[in-house]
């Protein structure tokens, strides 16, 4: 009896508001062992082709529908992004703000060896649930944490934040990457005004990528990506790409993360041997695991409109670090402060199944890996920065859309 009760819970538990809960049902059925269950599984499988809107019936049943409309993190409902970028007069740096001014559920996972962060303890599960009103990704090393003060000011002026007697306290976690001096002047770096301006620029429009915001001074710029899942949820990622390692495979000269491609979002072909071998020498050095310097750190954020609680948000951030592991080698080095934030823009309802959660987490990891590739492809050469990937390997990019990449 308890066996059947268990089955009923799986099969008939109230579904979350999103329409396609059937993957969950399928999972329950596939894991069944009793004859009755197997019968229902068979029936369920037989019915699958009749279920409208279902693209595939494999594994957990939750599949990728495609990228979101802009293939950037603002495809996630509730997410706004703004950049403030400064170039010239000794500057080549910037700040990116992910704005959830009405409050989102946040988490983080910090795996690099040299982090610079702010308000991350507040994200750990178990404490007061304040919501997260913005997240700051910035250049400027530890000095750049000041950008978060400007975002707090912007939010306070508009009455956004955790309400307290007499006002609000905006909760604005932040992480920085090391780009000091890349514009020529060591003290030309983001301050509170950078954060304020970035918050002011925030919108739900497709996220400008490449040499903008936190990507301006980063080794490989800034990238973003999104994915729509068959369970109705959208997942997105944004990354300021400044690793000690490399996101390009020295053997093929293709990005490590190329295999994560959805559709033809990258549209790369293997570069010619001539182009690849010409660039080989410096890349071999990079692979020798000896390229330590302090000028690193990849900072990222993944987001979803699924109703995650703070524990689930933390797990999404944790698993998303695998997206960096798949697209960057070596990764999480001592000189990298790699840190991934996560945000869920819908209040937790505890209606998600483990199948939903697994799908969302892995989609986030893959979206982050894809965002890394977008950073590589969309970052033009600016000042002393690295040459754009497609300029270095024209044969790899011959099929890419000729429309300008900068949006």
């Amino acid at each position: 009896l308890s066996d059947r009760a268990d089955f009923r819970i799986y099969a008939f538990a109230p579904a979350s508001p999103h329409p396609t809960r059937r993957g969950t049902l399928m999972t329950a059925m596939i894991h069944s062992s009793s004859p009755l269950r197997r019968l229902v599984v068979a029936l369920g499988l037989a019915l699958v082709p009749l279920v409208p809107g279902r693209s595939a019936a494999q594994g957990a049943g939750i599949t990728v529908v495609g990228t979101g409309p802009s293939n950037t993190i603002t495809d996630v409902p509730g997410i706004k992004v703004g950049h403030y970028t400064r170039f010239g007069d000794g500057y080549r740096t910037g700040t990116t703000v992910i704005l959830t001014e009405k409050g989102a559920t946040g988490g983080y996972s910090q795996q690099g060896g040299a982090p610079g962060s702010k308000e991350t303890d507040e994200l750990k599960p178990g404490g007061l649930q304040t919501g997260v009103h913005a997240v700051v990704l910035s250049g400027g090393s530890a000095y750049g944490l000041d950008a978060a003060s400007g975002v707090m000011r912007w939010l306070e002026e508009r009455g956004f934040g955790y309400p307290v007697a007499g006002g609000v306290v905006p909760i604005v976690p932040a992480a920085i990457l090391m780009d000091l001096g890349r514009g020529g002047r060591f003290n030309a770096r983001p301050d509170a005004d950078f954060g304020y301006q970035a918050a002011n620029a925030a919108s739900t429009a497709p996220v400008p990528t490449g040499r903008v915001g936190a990507g301006m001074g980063a080794g490989w710029g800034l990238g973003s990506a999104s994915v729509k899942l068959s369970n109705g949820y959208t997942v997105g990622a944004i990354v300021g790409l400044n690793p000690g390692g490399s996101p390009v495979d020295p053997k093929s000269c293709l990005p490590y993360g190329n295999f994560l491609e959805i559709g033809k979002e990258f549209n790369l072909t293997a570069p010619s041997e001539a182009e690849c071998s010409a660039a080989a020498a410096p890349r071999r050095t990079a692979l020798a695991y000896s390229g330590y310097d302090a000028f690193n750190t990849t900072i990222a954020l993944v987001a979803t409109d699924a109703p995650l609680d703070e524990v689930e948000a933390e797990r999404m951030a944790m698993i998303s670090n695998s997206g960096l592991a798949r697209s960057i080698r070596p990764v999480h080095n001592l000189g990298d402060g790699d840190l991934v934030f996560s945000l869920a823009t819908t209040p937790a309802t505890h209606s998600l199944t483990n199948a939903d959660l697994s799908a969302i987490y892995n989609a986030a990891a893959d979206a982050l890996g894809r965002a890394v590739v977008h950073a590589i492809l969309e970052s033009k050469q600016v000042g002393t920065s690295r040459v754009n990937y497609c300029d270095q390997y024209p044969s790899a990019c011959k099929l890419r859309n000729t429309k300008p990449v900068a949006r």
């Binding site: 610079g116 962060s117 303890d121 507040e122 178990g126 530890a142 003060s149 307290v164 060591f186 001592l334």
Partner: protein, 352 residues
């Protein structure tokens, strides 16, 4: 049992004169540290900066449920940077984290920081406490200027205690809401061992709970009844005064933040252990403590100026002792504000 308590109390008292003989008591009894405080008396609030200009190995332990912190991930022992150059404690809730920016500026101007070849990046972890509702002017809070001025004023001299610096706007005993609270503040204490090892604490006490004297178990400062006596939060809790439908009225206006320091040589993992054990000082001197509405955080610093071999467990145990001592000193030296009395404002009733 009473005899044991007396002996322990005597030992605690006996430890003090050693430091006093050297004319040094409190956090600055630890070689290599300076303390500077700025009080913004117009509200009041303020900030307290602990400078370790030569760098000190550091750790942190965050136990409360509503922390506001900066650069604490860096202190994880698995991470690369080993030493910090300052710790900033500030009022002003999350806004007050800006004070650390001013301390960074001061340190950079003096060439102090993690050397990145083309310049320095000062490592300045920070924690804040919530005091915005005290004083009626929530717009006044520590800014970068507070952190800069406090760093500039930092000395190896005695540390001012009571309603100063990060503790200027602090309150305790808020289980009955702000109207029944008392004043918290800054306290410091140190223990100097015969072998020259010093273990010290500095704390800004702003707990939702009551402050308890560990030597007597009695309330020193805490939630008051309508007629001004100690209600004793422990009695209220056990008596069922609070329920999910009627939680303590304290909101988020809490958080006790502190630093323990030693002149011993510790590595980052050991420093982390010391920070963890120092929370036992919170547990002995504050009740209830580490609630979801407290952001209770303890940093630890090891300046390593002494070569005396140490046992990290002993340093941690002494850190807890010094911390409990500092907490009690903080409220005893606080000064009252309109509607929020301090211990010194209460009639002297030995029965307490």
């Amino acid at each position: 049992m009473r005899r044991l308590v007396e002996v322990l109390a005597l030992l605690c008292v006996a430890a003090r004169p050693l430091a006093a003989q050297q004319g040094r008591f409190g956090l600055t009894a630890v070689d290599g540290l300076k303390v500077g405080q700025v009080t913004l008396s117009e509200r009041p609030t303020g900030c307290t900066v602990i400078l370790a200009e030569a760098g000190a190995v550091a750790g942190v332990d965050v136990r409360g449920g509503a922390p506001g912190t900066r650069e604490t991930d860096l202190l994880d022992p698995v991470n690369m940077v080993q030493k910090v150059h300052a710790i900033v404690l500030a009022g002003g809730s999350a806004y007050g984290l800006a004070a650390a920016q001013g301390t960074m500026q001061y340190l950079e101007e003096h060439g102090i920081g993690f050397d990145v070849g083309v310049g320095v990046v000062p490592i300045v972890p920070a924690a804040i406490l919530f005091d915005l509702t005290v004083g009626g002017k929530p717009g006044i809070r520590p800014t970068a200027d507070c952190g800069y001025q406090a760093a500039a004023r930092a000395t190896t001299g005695p540390v001012a205690e009571g309603s100063v610096g990060a503790g200027a706007g602090a309150t305790v005993g808020k289980m009955g809401g702000p109207t029944h609270a008392m004043r918290g503040g800054v306290g410091t204490a140190s223990i100097t061992m015969p072998n020259g090892i010093v273990v010290a604490a500095l704390v800004a006490v702003n707990a939702v709970g009551d402050v308890i004297d560990p030597a007597t178990g009695r309330v020193v400062a805490g939630v008051r009844t309508d007629d001004g006596r100690f209600a004793d939060a422990r009695t209220l809790l056990r008596g069922g005064a609070f329920a999910p439908a009627r939680p303590p009225a304290a909101g988020v206006q809490n958080t006790t933040i502190g630093v323990v320091a030693t002149n011993a040589k510790l590595d980052k993992a050991q420093a982390t252990k010391v920070a963890q054990m120092a929370h036992d000082g919170y547990a002995r001197a504050i009740s209830p403590v580490h609630t979801p509405n407290d952001g209770d955080t303890v940093f630890s610093l090891a300046t390593g100026t002494s070569d005396v071999p140490v046992d990290v467990g002993i340093i941690g145990a002494l850190a807890a002792e010094a911390m409990a001592d500092a907490i009690v000193r903080a409220v005893r030296q606080a000064t009252g504000l309109p509607g929020i009395p301090a211990v010194r404002d209460l009639p002297a009733t030995p029965a307490r």
